[in-house]
């Protein structure tokens, strides 16, 4: 087995074992996982060269759908909450998608932003339904009818989420290599040629858009049950920017980059918020600038180039 395979595998094993050694890390890792899933949605759109500044919308739609279901059935049940969240983001993704796939680049990004801001202000203003700026509590749900204590529930959420994330990541990886995935990439390189081939660029982008909404939704409902509270801030445009930020940080357009980026981001954020609360956003900003200007392939790209240097040394007699 080459070095290229060994390091990611070791990292994976480390992450799986970390909650056993340090139980406090469980919740941070679960949040990173939820964000990683949402970032995967951004990665799908980045394949087509489109950046959405409003995907927190689907994150929030799904989180609130899960919260409402939980409230309606006194506690609720985990699997059904995740399903309803994903279903809600799918429906909204389709509706919003039908409109925004007519646009590209700046308009695409900013129209998404407008939709997310509409949802944000609905959440904030209709407080008799949504609890306003204070948000809604999400009680710990049962799992398939079994009530669980906090600790085993968090353990289940983390390992369950981990398995789910690996499956989803593999699925997205396959999607990007499928004909549809390749057509998505053509939207970035030359859309007109795609249309000359008789393929509708809009419906191709719509398919990708719905997939990305669904992924963000999955992340959102996991986040909701993990945090135990949903607030309008979930839909705020800074949140959407954060998702794009993580995608670029990890390595634009790579599936593994989404999770690596989310992990690094969440850990840095947890520590930075504790030690440098006043300027952690500034640190992130400089980080983002550095990545775009000097390492445009992100953390995954950096890892690649370090490895290449190693391998070249090994090749020498």
């Amino acid at each position: 087995m080459t070095l290229r395979r060994v390091v990611p595998l070791l990292l994976l094993v480390l992450i799986v074992l970390l909650p056993v050694i340090a139980p406090w890390s469980k919740i941070v890792l679960t949040l990173a996982l939820a964000k990683g899933l949402a970032v995967l949605g951004i990665v799908v759109l980045l394949q087509a060269g489109q950046v959405s500044f409003g995907h927190a919308l689907f994150f929030a739609v799904s989180a609130y759908a899960a919260a409402f279901l939980g409230q309606a059935f006194a506690g609720g049940e985990l699997i059904s909450m995740l399903l309803i969240g994903v279903a809600a983001s799918l429906v909204i993704g389709l509706l919003v998608g039908l409109f925004v796939v007519r646009y590209r680049y700046i308009f695409f990004g900013m129209l998404n932003l407008a939709f997310s801001m509409i949802f944000y202000s609905i959440l904030e203003k209709f407080y008799y339904l949504t609890g306003g700026a204070d948000g809604m509590q999400v009680a710990r749900p049962s799992v398939l009818g079994i009530e669980m204590e906090r600790d085993p529930f968090e353990t289940l959420l983390f390992y369950g989420g981990m398995v789910l994330a690996i499956l989803v990541a593999y699925g997205v990886h396959r999607f990007l290599q499928s004909p549809l995935g390749n057509m998505m990439k053509t939207i970035k390189t030359n859309e007109t040629r795609l249309e000359y081939l008789g393929v509708s660029a809009r419906s191709t982008l719509l398919a990708g858009y719905v997939l990305s909404a669904l992924l963000c939704g999955l992340g959102g409902s996991i986040m909701a049950v993990a945090q135990g509270i949903v607030t309008p801030e979930y839909a705020y445009w800074i949140r959407s920017g954060e998702l794009v930020f993580i995608a670029i940080l990890g390595g634009a357009g790579s599936v593994s980059g989404a999770f690596v980026g989310a992990l690094v981001y969440e850990v840095v954020r947890t520590y930075a918020a504790a030690f440098a609360a006043d300027y952690w956003q500034m640190i992130l900003g400089f980080f983002l600038l550095g990545i775009i200007l000097y390492a445009s392939r992100g953390l995954v790209g950096l890892y690649d180039s370090v490895l290449q240097r190693f391998e070249r040394k090994e090749d020498r007699p």
């Binding site: 980045l46 060269g49 489109q50 950046v51 500044f53 409109f99 007519r102 646009y103 680049y105 700046i106 308009f107 990004g109 900013m110 129209l111 932003l113 407008a114 939709f115 801001m117 509409i118 202000s121 609905i122 904030e124 203003k125 209709f126 030359n190 007109t192 040629r193 445009w237 800074i238 920017g241 794009v244 930020f245 670029i248 006043d278 300027y279 952690w280 956003q281 500034m282 992130l284 900003g285 400089f286 983002l288 600038l289 775009i292 200007l293 445009s296």
Partner: protein, 301 residues
């Protein structure tokens, strides 16, 4: 809704539109020339407001006449444009014109994040209130409604002056003509000896100054607090997109449309107040994707 309420809603809308126009026109100018949507524009607005509060507060505390508040509005705006806007273009944006649009957007987003924290470090998180410029002009009575002269007369007049001034600047002065030439065709302009880099720098500084000027004028009418830049960038984009990106005169009309729509919503359906600008934008773009006054681009193969 009686006549007085209608008058109030119109006054609110016009005053608000004047402020939003100032910010949106800076955004649309920068986009029109440089093809960059500057997310950090919201920060210029916020920093303009903060700096004005500090300067005016300092001058009055030092015992000078409060009437100095008015010239200080210009000083604060120009300072932000030159000291904050200038270096950002010269040392950062210049390096990214060759990159793809999505990355350009992200770079300005990063600048926005950095400037948000700069504000927090310099001015803290407490709200500031400095309304001398507003109070000095007093109230006037129109249609049986009392309203501040600052908002009802000064703001719209300044907005119209900015609009006319910008038009004259672009059409009549040499610098303005150079800007238009570079907007039309950068390569051709460069080949006849126009320094496009310099034109970009000037445009960005002017645009940033306009954004900061919007903030300076707004600082007398509301409390200045963190988050105001984030809200304003989204709103001014809505105005610029409704008009068609790069349309200066159109931005004035779109600002009025959105300002009035918002203030009427405030009196009729308060829950919808924040939503109205986005709804107007979505409706317009649904029918005319290039905005009210924009022209459709031809497709390149």
């Amino acid at each position: 809704m009686n006549a007085q309420l209608v008058a109030l809603a119109i006054f609110d809308g016009v005053a608000y539109a004047a402020l939003v126009f100032m910010v949106a026109v800076g955004l649309t100018l920068i986009f029109g020339v440089m093809r960059i949507l500057n997310v950090a524009h919201g920060s210029f607005y916020a920093i303009g407001a903060y700096l004005t509060v500090t300067l005016v507060g300092g001058v009055i505390a030092a015992g000078f006449s409060p009437w100095l508040a008015y010239p200080l509005l210009f000083v604060a705006a120009a300072l932000v444009g030159l000291v904050v806007g200038g270096p950002i273009e010269k040392y950062l944006l210049k390096r990214i014109y060759v990159k793809e649009e999505a990355l350009q957007l992200l770079v300005t987003f990063a600048v926005f994040m950095i400037l948000e924290d700069v504000q927090r470090i310099l001015w803290g998180t407490q709200p500031y209130f400095q309304a001398d410029a507003l109070q000095l002009l007093g109230n006037i009575q129109v249609f049986g409604v009392y309203y501040t002269a600052y908002q009802l007369i000064l703001l719209p007049v300044v907005a119209v002056l900015v609009l006319i001034g910008l038009r004259l600047f672009l059409r009549r002065t040499l610098t303005g003509k150079l800007i238009l030439a570079v907007t039309e065709d950068r390569e051709a302009a460069t080949s006849i000896g126009i320094d496009a880099d310099k034109v970009f720098l000037v445009t960005f500084v002017v645009g940033a100054t306009l954004g900061a000027f919007g903030g300076a004028l707004a600082s007398a009418t509301t409390s200045v607090l963190p988050g105001m830049g984030a809200d304003m960038i989204v709103l001014s984009f809505a105005v610029a997109a409704t008009a068609g990106l790069g349309q200066i005169e159109g931005a004035a009309i779109a600002a009025l449309l959105i300002g009035l729509g918002r203030s009427f919503a405030l009196y009729l359906m308060p829950e919808l107040e924040v939503l109205v600008p986005y709804l107007i934008m979505l409706l317009v773009l649904l029918v005319r994707p290039e905005g009210l006054f924009g022209t459709a681009k031809t497709r390149k193969i």
